[in-house]
Amino acid sequence: MRSSKPVLLVEDDDVDAMTITRAVDDLEIAGPLARVTDGEEALKYLRSRGNEKPCIIFLDLNMPRMNGAEFLKVVKADDTLKRVPIIVLTASKEQCDIVSSFDLCVAGYIVKPVDYERFVQALKTIDLYWTLSELPNGRW
């Protein structure tokens, strides 16, 4: 990524979170990876003053308590949080999930590849794009 700020991973599945952490480490692509397990925890993380704001958010959709779409609705209505690019990283290929995510202005929707090598390839592309792209670094 262009920034050395943390990447916030919102993912309830431990195995998926481990795979992402491993791929990020293998590729040495990002600053620290902060992980929370649902939308509610993610909001708590983002609103806590002690935490550095992330440069980007990787968001799962199917999660307990507050799911990805509910989280997106809250974040995109918040004047300070709405500027963080959010990339959906999910197992769902459902057109209704894709449409409702883009309706909430996500900056990418990537279906998690099952195979690890392809997963690493996908993260490499995400990293390439978000290194090319500027990111908002303004004060919060």
């Binding site: 690019p85 894709i98 309706d103 900056a107 990537i110 090319l132 792209s133 500027e134 908002p136």
Partner: protein
């Protein structure tokens, strides 16, 4: 890109528009490139039902008549248009422009590389990412399919 819909380029500079067109050709990107010279023209293009809706929009910021930020405000307040990812392609590195664009929910902000080879690399990366990412199928397409099905049925 992931689908074969057009890419809409909103750019007032003729030379820059030609450079994007040339990069698409060199990279063998199959999506047709539609070009509007400012935000107002882009909105007219998007409102015309005879034009296929683009899969992504590449948006310059500094343009006469209606600039990029003004276009974003209108597009992101529209229930149909807001779904189309907009990638800013500009010469401005101003933090103000970057923050305001992300506040208006852009899906990328790329400073145009001056050198043509780097410019092609940037377009290649954009194409790669938006091939990996899913894209929303416009509801127009769904209606079309239903219409076709009813005609066939």
């Amino acid at each position: 890109m992931r689908n074969s819909k057009p890419v809409l380029l909103v750019e007032d500079d003729g030379v820059d528009a030609m450079t994007v067109r040339r990069a698409f050709k060199d990279l063998k990107i199959l999506n047709p490139l539609a070009h509007s010279a400012n935000g107002e023209e882009a909105l007219a293009y998007l409102a015309d039902p005879s034009n296929e809706k683009p899969c992504v929009i590449l948006l310059d910021l500094n343009m006469p008549k209606m600039n990029g930020a003004e276009f974003l405000k209108v597009a992101k307040a529209d229930a149909d248009l807001r779904k189309i990812p907009v990638i800013v392609l500009t010469t401005s590195r101003e933090e103000y422009d970057i923050v305001r664009s992300f506040e208006l929910s852009v899906a990328g902000y790329i400073v145009k590389p001056v050198d043509y080879r780097n410019f092609v690399e940037a377009i290649r990366t954009i194409d790669l990412y938006w091939t990996l990412s899913e894209l929303p199928e416009q509801e127009v397409g769904v209606k079309d399919a239903k219409f076709k099905a009813s005609v066939v049925g």
